[in-house]
């Protein structure tokens, strides 16, 4: 067992545990914090995979901006906990069962049908430096310029939409 494999296994355990923690916490705030942990773990995976830019984006956008937004909303609404309800009692075991089957199926399919060539080697030092960033930037602003610009418009539209949705009552009151 090499060192990076051991690192992977430990991190994987942490990630799964964090995901399960998010799944099982009764309090939404805990769920959010577990998810942050999961995101950070995944960011480390990205570093291991030689994608430092994505790792940084993961940390800042997901773990930072998005999850902070979640926490804001949870606290704003005071909806940390829902009152217990005895509806759809068979939903939970069924969900577990099906999710397990899904995981098994997906794993099987990926491993048997979509197996790429080669293994993931520990990234060279140069990869996690500016080289990757430069290559990514050049690709993004040459070949993928149009999708990039469209994404910016999408973000703008989302912003306007979000504002409009929450402001709606005021519009109506007028």
């Amino acid at each position: 067992m090499t060192l990076d494999l051991a690192l992977f296994l430990i991190l994987a355990l942490v990630a799964i545990a964090a995901a399960l923690g998010m799944l099982l916490s009764r309090n939404a705030v805990y769920s959010a914090l577990f998810l942050v942990l999961n995101f950070v773990t995944v960011a480390v995976f990205y570093l291991l995979l030689g994608a430092p830019f994505i790792a940084m984006a993961q940390i800042t956008v997901y773990a930072g901006a998005i999850m902070v937004l979640f926490l804001f909303v949870i606290m704003l609404l005071g909806a940390e906990r829902l009152p217990d309800a005895k509806v759809l009692p068979w939903q939970k075991p069924l969900a577990y069962g099906l999710a397990f089957v899904l995981a098994a199926e997906a794993t099987y399919l990926f491993v048997t049908r979509a197996r790429p060539e080669g293994d993931i080697l520990p990234p060279e030092a140069a990869v996690n430096t500016l080289d990757n960033l430069r290559a990514l930037g050049i690709a993004l602003f040459s070949d993928y310029l149009l999708p990039f610009e469209v994404t910016s418009i999408l973000l703008l539209v989302a912003m306007v939409g979000a504002i409009l949705l929450t402001k709606k009552e005021k519009w109506e009151r007028k």
Partner: protein, 713 residues
Amino acid sequence: MHLSETVNSGFFFLAPWLVLAPVTGLLFNIVFGGRLGEKAIGWVASAASGAAFVVSALLAWSLAANGGHAVSVPFAEWIHIGSLELDWTFRVDSLSTTMMLVVSGVGTLIHIYAIGYMHEDVRFKRDPGRFRRFFVFLNLFIAAMMILVSGDSYLMLFVGWEGVGLCSFLLIGFWYEMDTLARPSWANSDAAKKAFITNRVGDFGFLIAGFIMFWVFGSFQFDEVFSQVSTIAPGIIIAITLFMLVGVAGKSAQIPLYVWLPDAMAGPTPVSALIHAATMVTAGVYLIARSAPLYSSVPEAQNIVALVGAVTALFAATIAVGQYDIKRVLAYSTISQLGFMVAAVGMGAYVAGMFHLVTHAFFKALLFLSAGSVILGLERGHHRAAHGHHDDHGKGKKKAGKGKEESGDEEYHEEVFDPGDMRNMGGLRKTMPVTFWLYLIGGLSLSGIFPFAGFWSKDEILADAFREGFTGVYWLLTVAAFFTALYVGRQIWMVFFGEPRHEAAAHAEESPPVIITPLAVLAFLATFGGAFNLPGVHTLTDWLEHTIEVHAGEFIWSVAIISTMLALLAILVSWLIYGRNPLKAAQVDPLKRPLGFIFTGMENKWYVDELYQAVIINPFKKLSQFLADVIDERFWHDWFHEKVIAGTYNWLSNIALDRYFDQRGIDAFANALGAWTQSLSAALRKVQNGFVRSYALSVLLGVVVILGYLIFK
């Protein structure tokens, strides 16, 4: 075998324009007439008719240059079935060009006259919008008449025959919802229907003749038919000719089918002049002249034709003496004169018949149009008398323009004024002098006074009858000629002499130049038309010789003198009765007392209409009533359809189909289907429980199943 030949020289290629010119005119008026004024519409129609006249003249000239030999001008393929080939071919020969010239020449003059006449007529009737329709119909008539006279087979002739019948119907019923007095009435449409239906009876005869002809000769083409006459049994020819005579009696108003013509005077006066005096009604005479080879081969048929014509001539002339309506007198006169023509062509005197046809077209058109001028003058006078003496002609126009509703009722409440009734006239010599002189010329020509056109043509008929040994016919026609002069004299004395018997007559006005000018031309022709075939010169005889067999009629002094003396005597008699002591207003006709019931008979047209009513129409109505009420309604409808068919059907559908097949079969199936669907949906709606998580679960289930499928595939 074609006796006629196709020639490329001359103007023969223009022949189709005989028909196309008036058709162009009427299409132009239909399409653009709405935007044109009345003047333009009238002149376009007149120009179209005039173009047909020019074409006719060019054809006649070309024919003369060609030595008078008949020429066929193929125009269009019509019916080609197997070996049967029926084409639309124009036949240009001396007979058809004579008819073409008369039709288009007189027709053009009447078109021009109608511009003035209809201008006022539509206003007196308060519907100026019909002006265009009138000229469209008139052009259509010219086109149909040209088809009739120019066709080179009996079939094309029949097409034109029916076409002119249609135009006659349309124009008699031109004011279909009001009578000549502008009152609401269906009299005009009744007259139109009478004309149409009576003509159908005649056309039935013509059709039978055509069927036999095709059966025997295998062709409708004139030359092909005539060339085989000698090979066919005379009995069959007699049948053909007599059935054809039925058609002639219908179209040319001979006994027993003449009854429609007097009623046809309901149409506007130019129509009476053009269709019901000068051209269409002579189609029968043309048909017999055209069929001369057929008739000449069977003297028996000729005798019958001549007798029918002669009897009609006398019969109608006696009725004319007893009539009061100015146009009705002329209508019976037309029947009588047509009798002369039919008698002439029946005797084999085709040239005399055609000659009389031509001169009659001139003087009878002149008389009718002058009568129209008189009627218009009276209407103007009536208008003035009714609305005071200020100038109300313009006012009337304005009113007419505003539409019917506004001024419509205004005149109906007045006493009914018939501008055509001679008892309302009198003294018009002073108020309408030009019309008087023109009418006088026409009247003298009709009476057969030397040297007017009518004298020459009528004398030729009488001379031929005398010479050919048709003694009975000769005397009948001579007596008819006496009555002719009598009713002409009576009419002229009553209309133009004496004192006005009605306010309207006193205020009558002369007609405008557009009306007078065509009359003057016609008067010229009525005066000098005899020059076409003067005894010893025989222009028309030589001309027609190329087409039909002719006898160069010799002038017989005794015949001429007798007929002239009789005519003068008749005029003298009419002066004694009507001229010396002019009729007073509301006075009974002076002939009534001495003649008694005879005059009553004349006055009532010898009760022929009533006879037909009793013998034909009433039994026909009874029969149709019986067929409709008893046979159709009670038997077919009530019993057979309702009881037998509908009853059986109901029983079948109620018991067998409805109860067993429908209710227990189809209904049960459909109901079960519905119930099954309901229960299924009741089960399924539980799935639709409104929980988002449930839906998500079903999506997940689907994903799992699909993935499983992909794995185990």
